[in-house]
Structure formats: structure tokens, C-alpha cells
């Protein structure tokens, strides 16, 4: 059972409780999803000299709704 505090919405606690009861393999199965990501999935290999370059590339090339842009 997960620790309870008044500040934590009960539905969050319920979700964590449920996850705690699952096996690692089952949690993994539920965690990984796969959908096509435009641009990102269109090349078999990419590399960047710096993580900053990678982020810049994401911002300049990926659709905003993919969520890779900075806020």
C-alpha cells in the first residue's frame, strides 16, 4: 500500500497502488507504446555532436505537437 497524504489525489494513489501489484514484465508492457512519429521515425540512424544540437534539431524539424520542443 502506498503512503497516504491529504495532498495527493486519490486517483494517483490508486494508479501507483495498481502498478505496485503488477510484475515488472507487466509494467513494462503497459509502459511502452508505439506510434509513428513523423520525421523522427523517417531515418534509420541519426547522431548529433552535442545534446544541445539534438534539441535544436528537434525544435527545428519536428512538429510541435510531438512534444520535443522546450517550453
Amino acid at each position: 500500500m502506498v503512503a497516504r497524504t491529504a495532498s495527493i489525489p486519490p486517483e494517483w494513489l490508486a494508479e501507483f497502488d495498481a502498478a505496485a501489484k503488477r510484475s515488472l514484465e507487466q509494467r513494462w508492457k503497459y509502459a511502452f507504446i508505439k506510434t509513428y512519429k513523423p520525421v523522427m521515425d523517417d531515418a534509420p540512424y541519426r547522431s548529433w555532436d552535442s545534446t544541445a544540437d539534438y534539441r535544436r534539431w528537434c525544435e527545428e524539424n519536428l512538429p510541435d505537437w510531438l512534444g520535443y520542443g522546450r517550453v
Binding site: 501507483f16 509494467r27 513494462w28 507504446i33 547522431s47 505537437w65
Partner: protein, 201 residues
């Protein structure tokens, strides 16, 4: 390509073990630690040394990734970020993640879960926050919640309890939070869920 399966994670673990690759699992590690999150990407934080680079290339070969000589050279050299979609599953090699200064420092704090080398939840969160993405803000909002929950939800980690904060929520919870705090309309919830799920780095 299908979603990344646990069996494939085990294959990575075993191949990396076999070739003594020095690695830490990043965001996926939060899932291993017991947090009900969703993601599309598998990423590993790998030590940037020539020896480790060579070991990674050999392990990737075992796993079925088709790398050209030039690509192998880049990995051996330790380019900061390498995105692989030329194998049995997608994999990001991150030699220099945001929010983590040195591999050795993160290694000292790492946790082992079912044979996987997992970055400490504090490092995972630090990295997420450093990316300064929407998902990272959500991560910060969930910090205290996860700190409370971490011990209870990670029975494999006896004695482990994160010292600061951690994530995570499931997609539904994240979407709800986004609706409340980030001005996302109900009609856009699928996009919210999707974007949070696909942006670990």
C-alpha cells in the same frame, strides 16, 4: 515497428553484460523503479570512453543492429546523442544527457533492478527537468508525490528511497494535470498523452 518489449530489454541487458558495456537506463529506468509511466523511447546513458564505445558497437551487432563503418566509428567516438532505428527496436544512445555531469557520478548512485543498471531516480528527474520540456514541468509537479510513493512501489529495491523527488504518473493522470495547469483543451488530450509519452529526452 512494434512497441519495445520486456524481452528486448532483457536482450539489451544480457548483450551489454556480455560485452561489459557501462550503461545506465534513463527514463525507462523510472518504469523499472515502479512508476506507472508511458513512453515510446528506450534510451540508455552510456559511458563515453573508446573502450565502452567499442563494447557498445559489438553488443549492438549481437542484437541485430545494422551499422555502417562510419556509424560504428561515431559510436566508438562517443557522439553525444545517437538515435538508432536500424535494428530490431528503436534505441537512443545518450553519451551526454542533460542534467547529469559525469557518468561516473551517476554510476555511483545507480540501482540494479532485475539485472538492469538503472540511473538513480534523482538523476532521472534531474535530467528530465534539465530538458525544460512540458513533460519535465509535469515531472516537477509530481515530485513530492513520487518521493512518497517510491519506497512502497519498488519492492525490489529494499532500502532504497529517493532523497529528493521523482515522477511519475500514468498518461491519464498527466493529461488531467495538463488540462488543469497548462491550458490544454479536452479535445487535445490525445495529443497531450502522446507528446508526453514520446519525449523522454
Amino acid at each position: 515497428m512494434a512497441a519495445f518489449e520486456y524481452r528486448q530489454a532483457e536482450e539489451i541487458r544480457d548483450a551489454f553484460d556480455r560485452h561489459r558495456v557501462r550503461y545506465l537506463i534513463g527514463k525507462s529506468g523510472a518504469i523499472l523503479l515502479g512508476f506507472p509511466d508511458t513512453t515510446q523511447d528506450a534510451d540508455v546513458f552510456v559511458q563515453a570512453t573508446p573502450a565502452n564505445g567499442r563494447a557498445i558497437v559489438t553488443a549492438l551487432g549481437d542484437l541485430g543492429f545494422r551499422l555502417t563503418d562510419a556509424q560504428k566509428a561515431e559510436i566508438e567516438r562517443g557522439k553525444d546523442f545517437v538515435q538508432l532505428k536500424n535494428g530490431p527496436f528503436d534505441l537512443d544512445l545518450v553519451f551526454a544527457p542533460d542534467g547529469i555531469e559525469r557518468f561516473e557520478d551517476a554510476w555511483k548512485r545507480h540501482v540494479e533492478v532485475a539485472g538492469f543498471m538503472v540511473a538513480h531516480i534523482d538523476d532521472i528527474i534531474a535530467s528530465k527537468r534539465a530538458t525544460n520540456r512540458e513533460g519535465s514541468r509535469v515531472t516537477a509537479a509530481f515530485g513530492i508525490v513520487s518521493r512518497i510513493l517510491a519506497c512502497a512501489t519498488a519492492p525490489r529495491m529494499i532500502g532504497y528511497c529517493p532523497s529528493t523527488y521523482a515522477k511519475i504518473s500514468g498518461a491519464t493522470m498527466v493529461a488531467s494535470l495538463s488540462t488543469m495547469n497548462f491550458g490544454v483543451s479536452i479535445a487535445n488530450l490525445p495529443q497531450v498523452i502522446f507528446s508526453l509519452g514520446v519525449a523522454p529526452l
